[in-house]
């Protein structure tokens, strides 16, 4: 009896520990190393916009990194273009449109909502909803069972007594 309790508490401890480790790893900053550029800006706002844009735009060559985290040739050119357009006073949406016209949805880490990307945007919600529906169904059934079946009726009580009596 005692050993089972230890085993259970040890498992609970392990489960909690792994959850904590997982949460901590989520909190850690992601390891994208910004490229050191020597771009000059007039204002801090321009610089912040540049950083945000180069984090939001994806490098077409080295696929899963952003413009800011990539050493690729195209990424370098595109960073220079973003800088140039910011200095020319173009708005963020104009810059994003410029990139979209040349490289398509791929270059946007947050693709536009179109007929083709609807599933991309709302697919996870759909999965969550159906999963939730099943979870709810299971939970309701489980509650029904515990509500009705934990109490023993008179016949079952008698049978239990008999069985216990037989043993002793």
């Amino acid at each position: 009896m005692n050993s089972t309790a230890t085993l259970i508490s040890r498992n609970v401890f392990l489960a909690l520990a792994s959850i904590i480790v997982l949460l901590c790893s989520l909190l850690l900053p992601s390891t994208t190393y910004s490229q050191v550029d020597t771009f000059e800006f007039d204002t801090e706002v321009q610089q912040t916009r540049f950083r945000t844009l180069s984090d939001e735009l994806r490098c077409p060559m080295c696929q899963n990194s952003s413009l800011s985290g990539s050493t690729g040739g195209v990424a370098e050119d595109l960073r220079r273009e973003v800088h140039r357009m910011i200095m020319e006073g173009r708005s963020d949406s104009e810059i994003i449109q410029f990139m979209f016209e040349r490289y398509g949805d791929f270059i946007l880490f947050r693709p536009r909502l179109t007929a083709g990307t609807v599933f991309l945007w709302f697919g996870p919600l759909l999965f969550l909803f159906t999963g939730g529906l099943f979870a709810f169904g299971i939970w309701r059934r489980a509650r029904k069972i515990t509500d009705s079946d934990t109490e023993l009726d008179k016949y079952q009580q008698k049978r239990l007594q008999q069985l216990l009596g037989d043993k002793s």
């Binding site: 077409p60 060559m61 696929q63 690729g72 040739g73 195209v74 370098e76 050119d77 595109l78 273009e81 979209f100 016209e101 040349r102 490289y103 398509g104 791929f106 159906t130 099943f134």
Partner: protein, 177 residues
């Protein structure tokens, strides 16, 4: 009803599993070009041999636009195919010397042969951005009106030529006649 309740999740699982399984084998490296069916971006730039070239210098017929660089090994692999196409007069080839240095480009052409009617010099990669290029080699099929109709990323060898370009060109010819 109960049967449906059992089979619905199973069916859902199968659908998702098939979709994900297919996803494992999707080609995510080759991106679709945004410039398909759009006119070639306008340009007025220096060519590798030093003359000024613009859209009016483009061949008035179906041609290949090949993005290359002297640093690019795959370009060397596809080079014999481009040489053959140009020498046999099968199709004119225009080059885009992408993110290279003019002197290196000149040397490379002298050493390996020049299949290009001319090569647009794009040292900064700015023209490449307008084309939506993400790395050499890339080859575009442009129609007689200067509209981009097809793009192939990476090496253009005889197999790719036979299997992808020839049917695409045949389609363009049919459309034009």
């Amino acid at each position: 009803m109960n049967k449906l309740k059992f089979y619905l999740p199973v069916l859902g699982f199968v659908v998702v599993a098939i979709a994900l399984w297919r996803g494992l084998y999707l080609d995510t490296k080759t991106l679709p070009s945004m410039l398909i069916d759009k006119p070639m971006p306008s340009f007025e730039l220096t060519s590798v041999d030093g003359s000024v070239v613009s859209n009016s210098d483009l061949p008035g017929q179906i041609f290949l636009l090949n993005v290359w660089g002297s640093y690019c090994l795959p370009c060397l692999i596809e080079h014999p195919t481009l040489m053959r196409l140009s020498e046999e007069g099968e199709i004119p080839v225009v080059g885009v010397n992408y993110r290279d240095r003019q002197a290196l480009a000149v040397d490379w052409l002298a050493e390996n042969g020049n299949p290009f009617s001319f090569s647009i010099l794009d040292e900064s990669g700015r023209f490449g951005i307008d084309l939506g290029v993400y790395g050499a080699p890339e080859t575009y099929l442009v129609d007689a009106n200067g509209v981009i109709r097809f793009r192939h990323v990476s090496v253009l060898d005889e197999t790719v030529w036979q299997e992808q370009f020839l049917p695409a060109i045949a389609e363009l010819r049919e459309e034009g006649s």
